[in-house]
Amino acid sequence: MIDKTFASAEAALADVADGASIMIGGFGNAGMPAALIDALIAQGARDLIIVNNNAGNADTGLAALIAAKRVRKILCSFPRQADSWHFDRAYRAGEIQLELVPQGTLAERIRAAGAGVGAFYTPTAFGTLLAEGKETRRIGERDYVLEYPIHADYALIKADRADRWGNLVYRKTARNFAPIMASAARCTVVQVREIVELGALDPEVIVTPGIFVKRVVKIGSSLRKAA
């Protein structure tokens, strides 16, 4: 019998090694898998490469992981925010490397990894600093930049409901990067509000089919109210 459920976030992340590459879902706090990030902080793996749209907000979640000096490099589109003080400090101190990626290119590089695409040409960033040193090509009337997929060892994401096969449905804009990250990582770990019986999720509305998911942890109501 297939059962992808894990008893705790700690158990689901026990094998994360130093130097691992980890995608973390969420756009700001919406969809951020806070319980998994807390477990990752407790687990102790260091020297991590993180992929997220942002670089942490305030003092919890990804910001806390950065504050704990556990992140060697981050790939993101929008690190600088009013409350990204832990990243800002680490960046200015030279403790963290930043690969800044336009948001759509970040999404497509993740999607490409999950879809087995070797590389792709995008018009985004042509003629800008973020395309410097990259291969370009004129196709038809437009200029494009060659971009490569982003693979990862783990994806930590949040969904609303799952079943034991790992089928997932999300809630509102908390979906954001989660479905593509689930497909791009070798081991996708999901925190969910509820685990339901097999067959209880309408197959017409399952967003992430279980083939992309390895581990599911029920965290209860994981909504974290802003202080």
Binding site: F27, G28, N29, A30, G31, N53, S77, F78, P79, R80, Q81, F87, D88, Y91, R92, L98, L100, V101, P102, Q103, G104, T105, L106, A107, E108, I110, R111, T122, P123, T124, A125, F126, G127, T128, L129, L130, Y170, R171, K172, T173, A174, R175, N176, F177, A178, P179, I180, V207, L223, R224, K225, A226
Partner: protein
């Protein structure tokens, strides 16, 4: 002359958004356009984080932390709205499905180059978000900005001194002084605010402007 305030600029942009348009409003000043869309016109707002049919701000106490816009502010969803993941969201942008992107800017060049993401300063932490995708992907890119910097320098320039967001991507510029179209043969002034002559706008702008031959 009567400079437009932020709301008047937003209302001016809103007037040009046609019924049935799919529109992305950038963070900051462009977000104000949503408050001025003419009542009775059905216009669908897109947000990069996976929403079509963004509705108004929720009432106090009705915020849902799973329902936010690209500026990470709480929003609502209109009837008919839809959620989708990030790769689909940017397929809509990059795939030329959006009719308009309204973006803020530090500078726009005579050729329609846009600079709005990075000052290039040594201590500045760069952040680009979806700006480069929107600049290259939307069918029409509308820029909304003050005409002059605080020091009185024109933000419409011969060549952008700040790092580019996109080359030759801006279609129309809305400032607190004028509406200007970017065309292959240069900048065409569509209208100026009350009490501002073409000649005075030309003097303030410091780049060659053309008078649109037909009345605005």
């Amino acid at each position: 002359m009567k400079k437009l305030d932020r709301n008047q600029m937003a209302a001016r942009v809103a007037r040009d958004i046609a019924e049935g348009s799919y529109v992305n409003l950038g963070i900051g000043l462009p977000t104000l356009v949503a408050d001025h869309l003419p009542k009775g016109r059905e216009i669908i707002l897109h947000s990069e984080n996976g929403v079509l049919g963004v509705g108004p701000k929720p009432a106090a106490g009705r915020e849902d932390e799973d329902l936010i816009n690209a500026g990470k502010e709480p929003v609502t969803l209109l009837a008919g709205g839809a959620y989708f993941h990030h790769a689909d969201s940017f397929a809509m942008i990059r795939g030329r499905h959006l009719d308009f992107a309204v973006l803020g800017a530090f500078q726009v060049s005579v050729a329609g180059d846009l600079a709005n993401w990075h000052t290039g300063g040594a201590d500045a932490i760069p952040a680009v978000g979806g700006a480069m995708d929107l600049a290259m992907g939307a069918k029409k890119v509308l820029v909304m900005m003050e005409h002059l910097t605080k020091k009185g320098e024109s933000k419409i320039v011969e060549r952008c001194s700040y790092p580019l967001t996109g080359a030759r991507c801006v279609n129309r510029i809305y400032t607190d002084l004028a509406v200007i179209d970017v065309k292959p043969d240069g900048l065409h002034v569509v209208e100026t605010v009350e009490g501002l002559s073409f000649e005075e706008l030309q003097r303030l702008s410091g780049v060659p402007l053309k008078r649109l031959l037909t009345a605005a």
